[in-house]
């Protein structure tokens, strides 16, 4: 038992660090894109509201970047501290993307520093905007590289394993494994969706609190439409991911869908509970949908969970993660759609209260979608750390102090998140947009 305890504790600690890091990392990937969008519109339309928007987002962004950097350092070092055996093996095959990720991060760090301190330094405002390109490219590139590492763990390739030693290693093939295309694109686009959603939620919050100024309506329009576009893209790529799973990682899809016997014309189960005989109760059953999800045809044969030995099956609870992720994904398309059709809706108000509540929810909904999506992906490859090659139990540290470290990090993350929220809300409350517009003498800055 004592040799198993560090394994479970290491899993919890890694999960916890990632749980915190994923939020800030996704913000780091998407927010620069949104800032660039706003600043670009500001320059193009000569509308100072958009420029102010970019500036205010950037101010908050630094705070989240700080937390992202430290939690990222945390997970980076924890990989070796908690999973030394895995890193010894994986280091032979996937050091390249890890290495490149740091380079991308380096570029991002350098240019973000420059961007933040040069708002008034260049006469041509385009020059300042151009500084954001390396920031956005750097953050997206680090997401790409680190996701290839995760893809490798799901679909290890680019080496031969003989007697526990990796040979014939091809780092490029390891990076460009079968899971990479769908995973990388899904991660990128869902991060953009999340950031657009969070910013849309914030804009809706300001309006719901009674701010009638044009500035907020412009912010809302920009962010909600972005959410819509990115969410549609995420859904399409999510569909490709499902097809990928059906072909290359069928046990994850089967566990997620509670699909036990291999069959064509497979039914998709939504919600429900499993009884002791693995029969689905109360679930919504959509005929043929799983076959369509797996291969775009009614007769696609979907491999069932019974094909896999019991000790190689992922936990069946991931079904709920999958359902939640998909449900939230749908909401992230539908709510913005209602907003876009607002002028054709019956009723006198263009911004009815119920719609504002829905728009405010875009933030928390998109955050949750990212978290459950990752949980589905990660828990879904249990019991493997390198699918088909190394189990999680073989990879964990043998140290007996993981429990204490878990407590230490729980405290750290609680303090970090709590103070981050506090600092952010203080930042925006103390210097609200209306006052700032007055101060900068932006036209329409006075309250109407």
């Amino acid at each position: 038992m004592s040799s198993l305890d560090p394994v479970l504790l290491s899993r919890i600690l890694t999960g916890l660090t990632l749980f915190v890091h994923i939020i800030f990392a996704s913000l780091g990937v998407g927010i620069p894109v949104m800032i660039a969008l706003a600043e670009w519109r500001g320059i193009r339309t000569k509308d100072p509201h958009y420029t102010l928007l970019a500036r205010r987002w950037a101010r908050g962004f630094v705070i989240t970047v700080a937390v992202g950097v430290v939690t990222g350092t945390s997970i980076g070092l924890q990989l070796s501290l908690l999973w030394p055996t895995f890193m010894r093996v994986a280091g032979q095959a996937i050091a390249l993307p890890l290495f490149m990720e740091t380079f991308a991060f380096f570029i991002e760090a350098i240019f973000l520093g420059i961007y933040l301190y040069t708002w008034e330094r260049f006469t041509n405002r385009m020059t300042h905007l151009l500084l954001l390109i390396p920031v956005a490219l750097g953050s997206s590139a680090s997401a790409v590289f680190i996701t290839t590492v995760n893809s490798f763990m799901n679909a290890p390739q680019g080496f031969t394993l003989s007697d526990g030693i990796l040979t014939d290693i091809n780092p490029i093939a390891a990076m460009l494994n079968t899971a990479t295309p769908t995973k990388v694109t899904h991660v990128l686009v869902s991060s953009y969706t999340m950031c657009a959603g969070v910013l849309a939620g914030l804009a809706a919050f300001s309006i719901a609190r009674g701010n009638k100024h044009m500035y907020f309506k412009k912010a809302l329009k920009l962010t909600v439409i972005s959410t819509f576009v990115f969410a549609i893209a995420t859904a399409i790529i999510g569909d490709f991911s499902g097809k990928y799973l059906a072909k290359y990682q069928p046990e994850k899809l089967a566990a997620g869908e509670w699909h036990f016997d291999t069959s064509a014309y497979a039914t998709l189960v939504y919600g429900g509970v499993l009884d002791e005989n693995n029969e689905v109760k109360f679930g919504l059953k959509i005929p043929y949908a799983l076959s369509i999800l797996a291969g775009n045809a009614l007769n696609t044969e979907v491999i069932g969970l019974n094909e896999f030995p019991e000790d190689e099956r992922p936990p069946l609870s991931i079904h709920y993660f999958f359902d939640t992720m998909v449900t939230l994904g749908v909401l992230l398309v539908v709510i913005p759609l209602i907003y876009m059709l607002r002028k054709r809706l019956p009723g006198k108000k263009v911004y009815p209260q119920w719609m504002m509540i829905g728009l405010m929810a875009l933030g928390p909904l998109s955050l949750t979608a990212i978290e459950v999506g990752w949980m589905y992906a990660e828990v879904g490859r249990q019991p493997w750390i390198m699918r088909g090659y190394m189990k999680v139990t073989e990879a964990a540290t043998t140290s007996t102090n993981v429990g204490w470290m878990l407590i230490l990090f729980i405290l750290l993350y609680l303090v970090l998140c709590f103070s981050c929220i506090k600092v952010l809300s203080k930042l925006f409350r103390n210097k609200n947009a209306i006052d700032e517009m007055k101060m900068l003498g932006i036209e329409g800055g006075e309250r109407k």
Partner: protein, 343 residues
């Protein structure tokens, strides 16, 4: 040159880079705190803040870069050091996290006045992190990490009783303050702030003596800890002599208040000679007797891929670093504070 040497040289250069930029950062945090306690915060604090603000993120990357490179070139390092360093490694992560985050919160958040508790935390971590990190150098000399029943174990008692451990910690502490003060002397002079310059110059001179004494102490403690390593160091004794000469020149310039840019270059050379001399004589071991750069090196394909990625990365990185230095370090207007501040 073979891949192994290229690999370890790349890593050593990055660790050197980290040592310099992190020392400036950590020491600056301490001086900032110290000046707040003494009550001349406004004289020194602003100068320090203006330098640190745009670069705090970059400092962290040097460390991550070294760590990732180490795991990449020497995957076994992840296994031995990873297993052994769970507790100290986690403590360093927590300190780095607190330091990084609260720096950003304080600088970019709204609170204008300096919170004493926060400043104390910032100053303390600035001293504790280098001390904690430097102990890895002591562990790398061997005798601390061992194997039992196929599992890696650490002899912490031996570690804490070892005079070499303490001499390395001492060296880390004083050299952080020395490097930082020497840099800030140069920076303050450029900003034209006479008052700050005089205060920081005194710090620099005050810490130069302890630095050289601590270096000598650590140098001779290696003989006791790992005589094989010490012999190798004697073979390249000229590097340590060169280091001492650079030290004398650097301090002389600060004493005379002249050529401060050159003075800091000599500080960097002083540490470069000592650092690369130490590193070169440490070879072929990354962890004495367990990790040998020739036996525990990654496979050839990965080595080529890593070195190519590194070369390409450098092509992007160096111009970017030069850009940020030109904008903030060597831009007289920015240093004086007449240029605009953060968005």
């Amino acid at each position: 040159m073979n891949y192994e040497i290229v690999g370890i040289t790349v890593l050593w250069i990055f660790l050197f880079g980290y040592m310099i930029v992190a020392s400036i950062d950590f020491g600056a945090g301490f001086f900032s705190f110290y000046s707040v306690v003494l009550g001349h915060e406004n004289k020194v604090h602003n100068i320090i803040q203006r330098y640190l603000s745009p670069v705090w993120e970059v400092t962290n990357v040097f460390l991550v870069f070294f760590y990732v490179g180490l795991v990449g070139f020497f995957p076994d390092a992840a296994y031995y050091y990873g297993t052994a360093l769970l507790v100290p490694g986690s403590l360093v992560i927590v300190m780095l996290a607190i330091r990084g985050v609260y720096y950003a919160f304080n600088t970019y958040g709204v609170s204008k006045e300096n919170n004493k508790l926060y400043m104390a935390l910032y100053g303390a971590t600035g001293i504790l992190i280098p001390a904690a990190l430097s102990t890895i150098l002591a562990i790398s000399e061997g005798g601390i990490i061992g194997m039992r029943d196929g599992n890696v174990i650490v002899h912490w008692v031996t570690f804490f009783r070892n005079p070499y451990t303490w001499s390395v910690i001492l060296l880390a502490l004083v050299s952080v303050l020395y490097i930082s003060a020497m840099f800030l002397t140069f920076y303050a002079k450029r900003s034209g702030d006479k008052e700050a310059f005089e205060i920081i110059r005194r710090y620099a001179l005050a810490w130069s003596g302890p630095t050289i004494l601590a270096s000598l102490l650590a140098f001779f403690q290696i003989n006791k800890q790992n005589p094989e390593h010490f012999q190798a160091m004697l073979h390249i004794a000229w590097m340590f002599v060169a280091s001492f000469v650079c030290f004398v020149l650097a301090v002389y310039f600060v004493w005379k208040r002249i050529h401060l840019g050159w003075s800091f270059i000599f500080v960097m050379l002083q540490f470069a000679f000592a650092w690369f001399g130490y590193g070169r004589s440490h070879l072929p071991y990354v962890l004495y007797k367990y990790i040998n750069i020739y036996e525990n090196f990654t496979n050839d394909t990965m080595a080529i891929a890593l070195i190519s990625a590194f070369s390409l990365g450098i092509i992007v990185l160096v111009p970017s670093l030069i850009l940020i230095m030109r904008l903030f370090l060597f831009d007289a207007k920015y240093i004086r504070g007449s240029s605009d501040k953060k968005g």
